[in-house]
């Protein structure tokens, strides 16, 4: 193994110290003890869902065991505790992304739900026939299909921001595409299919000057980058609990308060109203007007616990560690015969998408699974990326701070078994 260490500032100046820290982190994640086919699990599918530390699992169990009750309208102790825990999570998440107010933090069921909320509650109200929405060629379906639905129902046009061969946004063309009809620019902070980290600040700056609304899909950024929505300068930012070491069933939409105030809710029900009669219904304020019905109480509390867990880590250390994993993996997989990395942007999270000559990703996935190496294969819900590169699918290894160099070695060894079997050279 060849890794260089420049962490003197952090006091992490030996490989052993780094390994000790990671070993300690790994102890928090019970699933990492799992065996698959009698071999220790090598979980490299963090792009799909990240694993939960026991702090999160236990927070949820404790809530279920001691506090469970419906929120917001109860005067009894359990209900007050639940409400406090739920609203505390909102405060934690507000800080996690540095929003200026908890009124800008809307809990949803996930990134997909968040983006659909923007589509239904903002775009349907404010866009009109002939308007344009710019969407990049590297978006996840969650940031395409809602706009497609809108284009059908409201006759707006979707315009694609192209990407370069290395998998970066083509910013020149982006600028050329901007005209007075463009009302929304929807891009991901990080691409789940390529790993590219996009220059969001540059994009929002341009858009702000032109009064264009920016919708940023942060699903792949929320665990790996320090997200500061005020610095990013976006209007909306969406992500999911299960992508940041929290549970499924919950997500978040950040929206600038001025926008949230003028948007209409897209789901009606309890808790989002001030008063209801059959003649008139008065909606509550943001964020409540967008959280109709009983929210995902336990899950939101779990997501708060996840944000807290991440905040308690030495972020500088884990981010640079993830980058080391990326460097190491990029280097090692290049030894695998016939392997080509798809997505070679300069700024990437710790994620490698690749193809191997003559071997379909689905076969790679099956054989890797036999070796207990969990990767994702397929189009990663980003078919336009596949179309861009003229391939049906890739294999994707996506790392988290609990992964190790040894696990990368296990990946590479398993890949060599694939190329051996399929006689690739």
């Amino acid at each position: 193994m060849s890794v260089t260490f420049e962490h003197k500032k952090n006091g992490i100046n030996t490989e052993n110290e780094m390994k000790r820290r990671i070993a300690e982190i790994r102890r928090d994640f019970p699933i990492l003890n799992r065996k698959v086919n009698d071999k220790p699990l090598v979980y490299l599918d963090n792009g799909a869902s990240t694993q939960m530390p026991k702090q999160v699992i236990d927070t949820i169990s404790a809530y279920h065991t001691y506090h469970h009750s419906n929120v917001h309208r109860g005067v009894h102790t359990l209900s007050q505790e639940s409400t406090d825990l739920y609203e505390e999570a909102r405060e934690t998440l507000k800080k996690y992304i540095n929003a200026s107010s908890t009124k800008e933090i809307i809990f949803t069921s996930g990134t997909t739900d968040s983006i659909n909320l923007v589509m239904h509650s903002y775009a349907k109200k404010f866009l009109k026939k002939g308007d344009k929405i710019l969407v990049s060629n590297m978006e996840h379906h969650a940031n395409i299909v809602p706009w497609y639905m809108l284009s059908k129902s409201h006759d707006v046009e979707i315009v694609v921001i192209p990407i370069t061969d290395s998998g970066e946004l083509d910013l020149d063309t982006f600028h050329d595409l901007l005209d007075d009809d463009v009302k929304i620019v929807a891009v991901n902070h990080v691409s789940n299919a390529l790993g590219t980290i996009n220059p969001i600040e540059k994009i929002t700056e341009t858009c702000r000057e032109r009064g264009i609304i920016t919708v940023v899909d942060g699903a792949q950024a929320c665990a790996h980058l320090t997200v500061d929505v005020q610095t990013l300068g976006c209007d909306f930012y969406a992500f999911s609990g299960h992508k940041m070491h929290g549970p499924t069933g919950t997500g978040l939409l950040y929206g600038r308060k001025e926008l949230l105030d003028v948007m209409d809710p897209y789901r009606g029900g309890g808790d989002m109203i001030l008063s209801v009669s059959f003649d008139e219904i008065i909606y509550n304020e943001a964020p409540f007007k967008f959280e109709a019905g009983t929210p995902a109480i336990a899950q939101v509390i779990g997501m708060g616990a996840a944000a807290k867990y991440i905040n308690e880590q030495d972020k500088k250390f884990i981010h640079s560690y993830e980058q080391k994993l990326l460097e190491y993996a990029t280097d090692k997989v290049s030894d695998v015969p016939g392997l080509k990395i798809i997505g070679t942007a300069e700024n990437k999270i710790s994620l490698i998408s690749f193809i191997i000559d003559g071997v379909h990703p689905h076969d790679i996935g099956t054989i890797l699974d036999e070796e207990a190496v969990a990767v994702r294969t397929g189009h990663h819900c980003a078919q336009p990326v596949m179309q861009r590169y003229g391939i049906p699918a890739t294999t994707r290894a996506s790392m988290s701070f609990y992964n190790t160099f040894e696990e990368i070695d296990a990946l590479v060894l398993a890949l060599k078994k694939v190329t051996d079997l399929f006689d690739v050279n």
Binding site: N37, G358, V359, H360, P361, H362, D363, T366, I367, E370, E371, T377, G378, H379, Q383, M386, P392, A393, K416, K417, D420, L421, F422, D423
Partner: protein, 151 residues
């Protein structure tokens, strides 16, 4: 290099060979039947073409498409077995094959040996769809359906 027995069972020589050199991999210009198969799990697509005579005998069959080794080999082997067969025989073959890959029958004597190489699929339920895509597409073509998906 050590492979697990499941991997070895699944990726038998014959399968790897058909994957690399798929037989009847071509378009039939004026088929009597055709259909597109689609497995959304892997994004695979397969176009199947058939020429069936008036007395219900398969004269020619071919395919093109992208897919994993299992689905490609399955399509390729299927085409080699179908030429000259009656539709009834084709259906029977599918039934036997289906029972094999879903683990319903252990050792079907009647089943063509070339199909038996897919026995390993039954240990990997996620791959059953790959193995059967070509066959489902065949059914769709014969029923004059344009498209079929396995999900």
């Amino acid at each position: 290099m050590m492979l697990t027995s499941r991997t070895k069972n699944l990726y038998q020589e014959v399968i790897l060979d058909h994957n690399k050199k798929p037989r009847n991999y071509r378009v039939i210009d004026e088929p009597t039947h055709s259909a597109k198969g689609h497995n959304p799990l892997c994004g695979d697509r397969l176009d199947l073409y058939l020429t069936v005579s008036d007395d219900n005998v398969i004269q020619d069959v071919s395919f093109v498409g992208d897919g994993c080794a299992i689905s490609k080999a399955s399509a390729s082997i299927m085409t080699t077995l179908l030429i000259g067969k009656s539709l009834e025989e084709a259906h029977e073959m599918f039934d036997g094959f289906h029972d094999l890959v879903t683990g319903k029958s252990e050792d079907d004597k009647a089943l063509n040996n070339r199909l038996k190489v897919f026995a390993g699929v039954k240990d990997l339920p996620a791959r059953v769809k790959c193995a059967t895509l070509a066959w489902h597409t065949l059914n769709a073509a014969l029923e004059n359906k344009d498209e079929v998906t396995t999900e």
